[in-house]
Symmetry: C2
C-alpha cells in the first residue's frame, strides 16, 4: 500500500464507522450537513481509473451502499455523490444528504451558502446520525 507523507488521508485520524483493509467509511463533522459521509480508499491512489477493476467495483459498491444507508437514515430530498480530490488528491467519495432548506440548496455544497438552516431542523437531522451509523454498520457488515 502506498502512503504519502503529509497526505491527510494517508494519515487519517478520524474514527471510521466501518473499515476493512481497502477503505474506510467516516461521518463528516459538518455543522450544516449532518449525515455527510465519505468513503476513503486506503491506498494513496489519485483517480478512480487508477484502480484495478476489482478494486474499482469494490469502491463503487461501497459508495452505493453508503448512498442507501444515507437515504434510509437521513431521508434526504436528494443525495449528492462526488469524487473531486483537487485539494487532497487521495481517492475519496463524498456522499451528502441534501434538503430544500439546507445551506446551499439547490446549489452544490461547495458554492456560496444561500441561507442558514433552522437550528431546530439541524438538531433533528443531527439526532438521526446514530441511526445512520447503525445503517452503515448493518450494510457493510454483510459484505
Amino acid at each position: 500500500m502506498t502512503r504519502v507523507a503529509g497526505c491527510e488521508l494517508c494519515e487519517l485520524a478520524a474514527p471510521a464507522v466501518f473499515e476493512n483493509d481497502k477503505f474506510a467509511v467516516i461521518l463528516v463533522d459538518d455543522a450544516n450537513y449532518p449525515g455527510f459521509t465519505r468513503v476513503i480508499w486506503k491506498d494513496h491512489v489519485r483517480e478512480v481509473s487508477d484502480l484495478a477493476d476489482a478494486d474499482r467495483l469494490l469502491l463503487n459498491d461501497a459508495v452505493w451502499q453508503l448512498e442507501l444507508a444515507v437515504r434510509e437514515a437521513m431521508q434526504p430530498l436528494k443525495v449528492n455523490v462526488a469524487s473531486l480530490g483537487n485539494v487532497v488528491p487521495h481517492l475519496h467519495w463524498h456522499v451528502i444528504p441534501r434538503y430544500a432548506d439546507d445551506a446551499h440548496f439547490p446549489a452544490p455544497v461547495w458554492a456560496a451558502a444561500v441561507r442558514a438552516t433552522e437550528p431546530k431542523v439541524l438538531e433533528e437531522r443531527r439526532a438521526l446520525v446514530p441511526q445512520l451509523a447503525a445503517a452503515i454498520g448493518r450494510r457493510f457488515a454483510k459484505q
Copy 2:
C-alpha cells in the same frame, strides 16, 4: 422508460457524442472547461440507488470509460466526477478535467471563480475536444 414533461434531461436536445438505449454521453459547452462531459441516463431516475443492479453497473462503467477518455485526450491534472441533480433530479454524471490554472482550482467548479484562465491556454484545450470526442467514440464503440 419514464419521461417527465418539463424535465430538461428527458427532453435533451444536445447532440450526443455517443448514445445507446440506456444513456447518452455529451460534451458540455462551458467556456471555462473545454472537455467537460456528462453521462445522462435516459430513463427519468432520481438517484444511482434507484437503478437495478445491471443498470447501475452499466452506468458506473460508462462514467469510468468517460474518465479514461477525458484523461487520455485532455491530460488534466485531476478529474472531478459528480452526480448532484439538485436542480435537475434526473440521473446524470459530470466528468470534468481540472487544471491548476482553471477558473476555480483547487475548489470545485461550483464554487466562486478565483481566476480567469489565459485565453490561449483555453484555446489549446478547446483544440483537444475533437480528440476527446474520438476517444469517447473508440471506447464506447467497443462496448
